[in-house]
């Protein structure tokens, strides 16, 4: 991990859930490897990663459907790794809802409370409250297959939340919904999270969804956590090449650095330069890999003067995609032999002005503070 990115081990005094050295192997395949993770009480925490990265396995271990091969899972400070699901104060919202088809909505929601043998009138009140919370008060006597996907999803949510678990686990709960309903449910989920104050752990492969909803996100890849941080931290200070490319789009620059007392630079010839601010930890690596976000880069006419102290590259416009608010360009950078992505706001584009066109020569400039130094893959 480089400077400024938080460690994967969260030093929270009062963790809702804490994973310590959790490993899960299926035969020869290691799904999750030595995972350390702390999730704060009341936070909306997402496990984000491509399919097969181990995020669902992690969730299933917390729920109790899989037993870790090694390590401890502390729920409110107690190791529950070897307890069956019904002896953990954790509830799950399943990907395809998993509502009981033979029970109506009300009985589905009451299922958990009945197992706890609560008094009948208390169950009735809590079920009614839960259904009101998800706006399904009028559907109490419906069977699950009489409801739309979105409604079934809300029943699943009510069925889990009515038990007031320490932690609510959500396994890609919006995966089966169409885009519009998905957006609506994202806001609704966030709203409910704020109201109930329960810790949510949300598994998704959709980076936009994770960025929209989460307080913090753990980006996972190949069974390990790459980085944990707030959406802003992950986007602005990606801790690895994987995070930089998985969350949003990044342009990568690598090369040999010449360090002076005040800065470093990668010199590429013909006035092109990439300036690097001095790392705070005092390290002076010989080679570096940098990432720059597309919206940090400005395009200038090839003859224009560039301020000293700015990074500068020459490129040729390849593709132009006009997106209304913004325009997305891809440019070939001959000195790096790479294609860069640049996102320009269309603020200064008036009706009589033209965008950049394919084949035009342009200069790319940005401030050195937008360069993110990535740890070299060998480290």
């Amino acid at each position: 991990m480089n400077d400024g990115t938080p460690s994967t081990i969260e030093q929270c005094e009062d963790c809702a859930i804490r994973l310590e050295g959790v490993t899960k192997r299926f035969g020869d395949f290691t799904a999750v490897e030595k995972m350390d993770l702390g999730i704060r009480r009341g936070e909306f925490f997402s496990l984000l990663g491509p399919s097969g990265c181990g995020k669902t396995t992690t969730l299933r271990m917390i729920a109790g459907f899989e037993e870790p091969s090694e390590g401890a899972i502390l729920l409110d400070g107690v190791d529950v790794a070897r307890l069956p699901p019904y002896r953990r104060n954790v509830n799950t919202v399943f990907q395809n809802y998993a509502l009981f088809p033979h029970l109506n909505v009300e009985k589905n929601v009451a299922f958990g409370l009945k197992r706890k043998k609560l008094p009948k009138d208390e169950i009735a009140t809590r079920v009614a409250d839960a259904l009101r919370m998800v706006e399904l008060g009028d559907r109490a006597t419906y069977k699950p297959d009489q409801l739309s996907g979105g409604m079934q999803q809300r029943v699943a949510l009510a069925r889990a939340l009515v038990n007031l678990p320490s932690v609510l686990l959500l396994d890609e709960p919006l995966g089966a919904l169409d885009l519009k309903l998905r957006r609506q449910m994202q806001l609704e989920l966030k709203h409910i999270h704020k109201n109930v104050g329960i810790t949510f752990i949300y598994v998704t492969h959709d980076q936009e969804e994770a960025l929209t909803m989460s307080d913090r996100i753990a980006v996972m890849n190949m069974g390990t956590v790459e980085q944990v941080g707030s959406p802003e931290e992950l986007y602005e200070s990606p801790g690895s090449r994987f995070v930089a490319s998985f969350i949003g789009t990044s342009n990568f620059i690598d090369g040999v650095v010449q360090w002076t007392a005040t800065e470093g630079s990668i010199v590429l010839g013909d006035g092109e330069r990439v300036i690097i601010e001095l790392p705070e930890d005092g390290s002076r690596p010989v080679t570096v890999e940098l990432s720059v976000r597309p919206e940090k880069i400005r395009l200038r006419e090839s003859g224009e003067e560039v301020q000293p102290g700015q990074c500068m590259l020459r490129g040729t416009v390849r593709d132009v995609v006009y997106l209304g608010m913004t325009t997305q360009y891809s440019l070939h950078i001959p000195s790096l032999d790479r294609v860069f992505s640049v996102l320009e706001q269309n603020v200064e584009i008036a009706s009589d002005q033209t965008l950049w066109v394919s084949g035009e020569e342009a200069i790319l400039t940005w401030h050195p503070s937008h360069n993110r130094m990535l740890p070299s893959s060998g480290a």
Binding site: A63, G64, F65, P84, P85, Y86, V90, N91, T92, F94, N96, A98, L99, F100, P101, H102, F111, G112, R115, K116, D145, Q146, L147, S148, G150, M151, R159, A160, N163, L181, Q184
Partner: protein, 278 residues
């Protein structure tokens, strides 16, 4: 289909021929049964000619003590063996669909053996089995024999039902605080139940009218209704036998229909009562 929405001539001829053929098949299948039912109302000692309508054979049937004894025995055997086969068959079906264990594929395959081997072979095998084990033939051996062939039917039907079971429902139940037993009782069993009932009804019908296996394994005096009918037929087919047959036919039909309804009426068929609004 032609452009003008009418079927070409040769196709219409074909359709007509097919219809006649289908009609013939149905006549072949159901005419004997129709005659059987009709002559159970015949006011004559013989089945040869129609003499007029009467219900007296049904009346006689319900005063014929040996027939009633046979019916009672048949019911006892069918109910007991169905109960045993339903319980053990369902448990076996659950194990075979939910768990992979040593030899589970062998078990899965061998379920079908009793369904395909000739009944007579099955009957003789059971008989020699009882002989080797030194078990005297009695009502118990009849029940054991019936359970033996019923198990396969129950397992096959319940397995078919279990194939559509979403195991995440069990995970959801445990997640909500139900232990293994409660999960089975509140979630798995209700899902299996239509299959169990369908399998049990099918098994009951098979036991109710079984002849070959019962004949070989019943011993002296354990006359079930099919055996009784057989012995009565030796002295000529009377309308009373027709009446018994109609009675058995009715029971089988009702149970069979119920069984089909239960298998077809699985909740996997999604029914939306009203257009879902968001």
């Amino acid at each position: 289909m032609s452009v003008f929405g009418r079927k070409p001539r040769d196709q219409r001829v074909k359709a007509k021929g097919l219809r006649a053929y289908v009609a013939l098949v149905y006549v072949f299948l159901f005419a004997p049964i129709f005659v059987l039912v009709l002559f159970s109302f015949n006011d004559s000692k013989r089945n040869a000619t129609w003499q007029g309508f009467t219900l007296k054979w049904y009346g006689e049937l319900f005063h014929d003590q040996p027939v009633l004894d046979a019916l009672w025995l048949t019911m006892k055997v069918a109910l007991t063996s169905t109960l045993i086969a339903a319980v053990f068959g369902s448990l076996a079906a659950y194990a075979l669909t939910r768990y992979k264990f040593r030899g589970s594929s062998v078990y899965n395959g061998s379920i079908y053996v009793p369904l395909v081997i000739p009944e007579i072979v099955f009957a003789v095998a059971l008989l020699s089995g009882f002989n080797v084990a030194g078990i005297g033939l009695s009502m118990k051996t009849v029940i054991i024999s019936h359970v033996a062939f019923m198990l396969s039917f129950v397992i096959v039907v319940v397995k078919a039902r279990m194939a559509g079971f979403d195991t995440r429902l069990e995970e959801a139940a445990m997640d909500l605080g139900a232990n293994e037993l409660q999960t089975f009782y509140y979630v798995t069993l209700p899902f299996m139940f239509p299959g169990i009932l369908a399998g049990a009804l099918l098994a009951f019908i098979l036991s109710f009218d079984d002849f070959v296996i019962t004949f070989f394994n019943s011993g002296v005096g354990n006359t079930t209704l099919p055996l009784k009918v057989y012995s009565m037929v030796k002295f000529g087919v009377t309308p009373e036998i027709n009446a018994i047959s109609v009675f058995m036919l009715l029971i089988s039909l009702v149970l069979l229909l119920a069984s089909y309804k239960l298998q077809g009426g699985a909740p996997s068929v999604v029914t939306v009562k009203e257009p879902a609004k968001e």
